[in-house]
Symmetry: C2
Subunit: 455 residues, 2 copies
């Protein structure tokens, strides 16, 4: 055949994406054979029974088929109809036309209002681009930054493998900085310095630092000081900052709040550090993974670079319009007193309360297992527990054995990166609470048996 694996590029072959790797493939195989599989490998809430938020789905349905306003007038609350009308009018051509490359201006304005209200800062809708999920935005900015094979991007270890995969694919260098497992997976300055020093010693030209807050897979939530420290570090070394803030709604510990990089940048009046912030409809309490909606916002980016970003986006014309509309529904929720408010609030609260319960249940449960230890799950949707393994056993082998024996599908720590000599896995907190209890029990029994047998 005219296409052969041996002719493919080294960067394509080297790319890895563990969240959908061989263990998941094996899980699907087992499922086809009739085994019950508990998918804890991926942050895909609705695949585990989470219900969609009615507000968002009603708006989408009306935008797709506006005749429903007349055909089924009783089926939609007045504020839903109003939102759909506003979107259709703002779009000029409805859902069937390509929008501007960076997305409908009307929806970018709504995103700007949302950020303005969240952070109390000024926002330019022209600095916002709507994207197919956060992933496509991250890929666009990484492509922009990686100019030569010696260019590197600092990414946390452990990280979400979108970053390592994309940097590899675009032939840049991964510059790992370690998160401090002993201090709740927080960032610390000396670990950033170490990372940069090591990269420079190898001739790497470090262009940017990525931060995931709340953390995936770590569950850590950064405070203002931590963020300020990263921004100071970036300024000192001339780095741009990528802030992956897709889990901003998922904060579980009392006293914690989400602090955005944009807000701290503004508070520090930093005009020199270029910041790219990412958000998504797939996470939070919406969990609308299928619609592939999201956006990025940039700050301190020169106009001639902004033009290049726009050009990159324009090659694929625009992000999908349903995703753009879902983003509108995310940033423009019903307000207290609106007809949809009560249902919206009930759905939102129930999902977030459930997540909070499970975050505590899972971390506590894991810590009761001898040989497993887990930081508190302060945010996001995951636990990344450390496991003590018998000598010579890899975390891939462990996770595969766990799958074969229990049907629980998790991702080995190696897929996210981990300090040498340590082993972890990532599990989501998404199975329904009762099922998650069962997961913890099965994990405990499995771990004990596995360690015994392998010793």
């Amino acid at each position: 055949m005219t296409i052969q694996k041996k002719d493919l590029g080294a960067s394509v072959l080297a790319t890895e994406y563990a969240v959908r790797g061989p263990i998941v493939a094996r899980a699907q195989e087992l499922e086809k054979q009739g085994r019950e599989i508990i998918y804890c490998n991926i942050g895909n809430p609705q695949s585990l029974g989470q219900r969609p938020i009615t507000w968002l789905r009603q708006i989408l349905a009306l935008c797709e088929y506006p005749a429903l306003m007349d055909l089924a007038p009783g089926a939609f609350p007045a504020d839903v109809v109003e939102a759909a009308r506003a979107i259709l009018e703002g779009s000029q051509h409805g859902m069937g036309a390509y929008s501007e490359s960076k997305g409908l201006r009307f929806i970018r304005e709504a995103v700007a209002d949302f950020i303005r209200e969240r952070d109390g800062i000024s926002v330019d809708p022209e600095a916002i681009s709507l994207t197919d999920g956060a992933s496509k935005g991250v890929q666009t900015i990484l492509k922009l930054l990686l100019a030569s094979p010696a260019d590197g991007i600092m990414i946390p270890i452990p990280q979400y493998p979108l970053y390592s995969a994309t940097i590899t694919l675009y032939e840049g260098r991964i510059v790992p900085y370690y998160l401090d497992e002993a201090d709740h997976w927080k960032l610390n300055r000396s670990m950033l310095d170490d990372s940069l020093r090591a990269a420079c010693a190898q001739g790497t030209r470090v262009k940017a630092i990525c931060v995931i807050n709340p953390g995936n897979p770590t569950g850590a939530v950064l405070d203002e000081q931590n963020i300020a420290m990263v921004l100071d570090f970036a300024r000192e070394h001339g780095l741009s900052v990528l802030a992956d803030e897709v889990y901003q709604e998922d904060i579980y510990l009392p006293g914690d709040t989400f602090v955005s990089f944009a807000r701290v940048l503004d508070a520090k009046r930093m005009r020199d550090v270029s910041l790219f912030s990412f958000h998504s409809c797939s996470k939070g309490f919406l969990g609308e993974c299928g619609v592939r909606g999201g956006y990025f916002e940039y700050r301190n980016v020169p106009d001639d670079v902004a033009e290049q970003i726009l050009k990159l986006l324009s090659v694929c014309l625009c992000s999908n319009l349903p995703g753009q509309v879902a983003t509108y529904a995310m940033v423009h929720p019903p307000k207290s007193g609106d007809p949809s408010y009560e249902l919206y609030n009930r759905e939102k609260t129930s999902i977030l309360e459930e997540m909070k319960t499970r975050a505590v249940l899972l971390a506590e449960g894991l810590n009761k297992i001898d040989g497993i230890s887990c930081n508190p799950i302060a945010g996001a949707m995951y636990a990344f527990p450390r496991i003590t393994l018998p000598a010579g056993v890899t975390d891939e082998e462990y996770c595969m054995a766990l799958l074969e024996e229990t049907g629980i599908c998790v991702v080995p720590g190696s897929g996210f990166g981990q300090a040498a000599g340590t082993a972890h896995f990532r599990t989501t907190i998404l199975p329904p609470t009762q099922k998650l209890r069962q997961v913890v029990e099965m994990l405990g029994a499995f771990h004990e048996g596995y360690v015994l047998v392998k010793h």
Copy 2:
């Protein structure tokens, strides 16, 4: 600022995408100032008043908000309800979950049925991937093929600039082959041979040939012999084939039919040439550009390469679910006798008849203008007329002047490529018929005046 244009990669800076370039930017500026602009720059039918197909929108609305089945039972024909139910059941988790990386199996099976029925050949649903429009599929396969800076891809001149932009972005070499303007923009073997010979002389390792059929921007429709010739050429030189077939529904001349590359490959029992075929919801009579739905199918691709394709798709998880559902609606239309059939057929026929009328009107009108000549528009949505310009005038200048004087927005031929010493522009056939008549008249008056003044 930490990001500067001077630090960006040469490939990013060199990328061009004329369909949304400076002339369109100027048009948007003029529009903001209150000028009426006739957008003929982009194949975006619903932005010019084309109505969506009800069948597709009803299915999308029901899938987004299935409660409508009970809330508004009278609003949806039985076959729409049945289709939506089948999709929701086939998806297992509805529209809110990530699907498999290559898209929902249930929808891939429907695509396989569609190809099987269209071409009378056997089809493997596992060889089909659902993508965000055809563009993302094309980019994935180009990334796969371009392994080193010496790798080249043959693309037609004129071409759709997705190809040149993506090859530049991924640091491959564009290997142009010229379409024969004197023979209705058909391909011919000697022009392919010339192109390959020139590339080899420059040390380029040619990996594949792209063909756009029906042609964008040329409007040409290839017949079976033409396609067989390309496949023979590919086999002789060990090339893979990318067949961009997004305009397969847009065929206007009596006697012409769409012939797919897959069908000819199968008829020739070719087992060695790797073929990638692309389709989209954005074109045809659907014109659903906003939903970003599409698919590609491959043939004669080894399993270990298929694994790499799947891995590349998995990095961004999956294409958007509304786009997947729109693809289902495209490949699974109502059948004669079904409740939705009559309306569907009426909408479809009326759009295609309109397009046919405009294709004739536009080509004839352009040919009546002294100094403009245009091949018959046999397919797709565009004319690519040749224009005689005064010495020293570029087609960019011409198009900009046309915009300033008339408000007509077209794209200069240089954005698509053209033989040295010739000048063209691309215009769509999408403005409503009455408006298109006006476009032709204004073009005639403008051209005459422009040539006089510049001489």
